[in-house]
């Protein structure tokens, strides 16, 4: 298992993505002081990302967009979550 962590500061709130890679699939955990409604959409996002191929950034991007399109974000945008996750993935491959 390899691990990558990245902290991204959105307009309001910090989004910290922790990505674990098992063989070639990912598991993502998103922590921080951001705000999203309904709150449990974050756990939904983590579930939806689980098992995606580490190399398939297009699929990862699509899952983030699709899942978060159902949520209201406050002080942050869908792109902030993508940035945090992708930069954490970059950290894994370093």
């Amino acid at each position: 298992m390899r691990i990558g962590i990245y902290e991204h500061k959105a307009k309001k709130g910090l989004i910290r993505a922790t990505v674990k890679v098992y063989d070639d699939t990912i598991e993502v955990k998103i922590t921080g002081d951001f705000m999203i409604f309904p709150e449990d959409m974050i756990f939904q996002l983590e579930n939806n990302l689980k098992g995606l191929k580490v190399s398939d950034r297009e699929a990862i991007s699509r899952v983030v967009e699709d899942t978060l399109s159902k949520a209201s974000l406050f002080g942050c945008e869908v792109g902030d979550f993508k940035t945090a996750i992708f930069k954490a993935l970059d950290e894994v491959s370093r």
Binding site: H8, G13, R16, G32, D33, F37, E39, D40, G75
Partner: protein
């Protein structure tokens, strides 16, 4: 508008369980719009998406007997002691009002109350600022036409302990251009350069929310159902280290 002075200052775990119970009773239409005024002895309260070890210096928390409790709303960690006033406003409001209803409308009651004592500005959407110092932090949630906004007001809190017990991310420090958390956050008394009576502040908050909502304020005690649900939530969720420290979803604890 119901006004609850309901604090269990030495058991923040139960106090937060009650907060969730109050919110759930409101969303089930069982209680009137409610303003709650409360405090805690010495506690770090984490946001729903936060992991304790990322936010709290455990050695400081242990040495100073600071409890660590996680709330059911998002946002950041706060340190609270008896010098910090906590307020919650839970209402049935505009349909589909969303985040705007919370911060463009509901926050006004608190800000208007503070304006009676200080030159208050709201910056960066919801930072309540007096003389360039942040004296309050808020968090919120909503469900359909129901809204909860709760926040702190630092009056006389131990800022030294606050800055030691809370970890501040280096990314955030860089962004805000400050070297330590204590330089940006301050007590209202310090920002004003004088003391204000706590009961005057509480009266102002009650009056301004009564005005904002157009409802007469009446003093009340928690309902039997609120207490029963709070006790259940305390037992199954808020008293558990897994809830407080590990960022598990609420659904794990039913």
């Amino acid at each position: 508008m119901r006004v609850l002075f309901y604090e269990i200052d030495n058991n923040p775990y139960y106090s937060l369980a009650f907060e969730e119970s109050m919110w759930r009773n409101l969303t089930e239409g069982k209680v009137d719009n409610t303003l709650r005024i409360w405090r805690h002895k010495s506690v770090v309260i984490l946001g729903y998406f936060q992991v304790a070890e990322e936010e709290v210096n455990f050695d400081v928390a242990r040495d100073y007997k600071v409890d660590i409790v996680r709330r059911f709303t998002g946002g950041g960690a706060v340190y609270q002691d008896l010098g910090c006033l906590v307020w919650s406003i839970a209402v049935k409001g505009k349909k589909d009002g969303g985040v705007e209803y919370l911060y463009d409308f509901l926050l006004k009651g608190f800000v208007n109350a503070l304006k009676r004592f200080a030159d208050v500005k709201v910056e960066n959407i919801n930072d309540v600022v007096v003389n360039n110092r942040k004296v309050s932090g808020t968090s919120a949630t909503f469900k359909g036409e129901y809204y909860l906004l709760h926040g702190t007001l630092l009056l006389d809190t131990d800022l030294e302990l606050m800055s030691r017990v809370l970890k501040v991310s280096s990314v955030k420090l860089k962004d805000k251009g400050v070297s330590e958390v204590k330089y940006r956050v301050t007590n209202l008394y310090e920002a004003l350069g004088r003391k204000v009576s706590t009961s005057e502040i509480i009266d102002a908050i009650i009056q301004e929310y009564s005005k904002l909502l157009g409802e007469r304020a009446y003093y009340d005690v928690p309902t039997k159902e609120e207490i029963e649900l709070a006790e259940r939530l305390y037992e199954k969720k808020y008293s558990k280290p897994e809830w407080n420290l590990l960022r598990l979803p609420s659904s794990y604890f039913v």
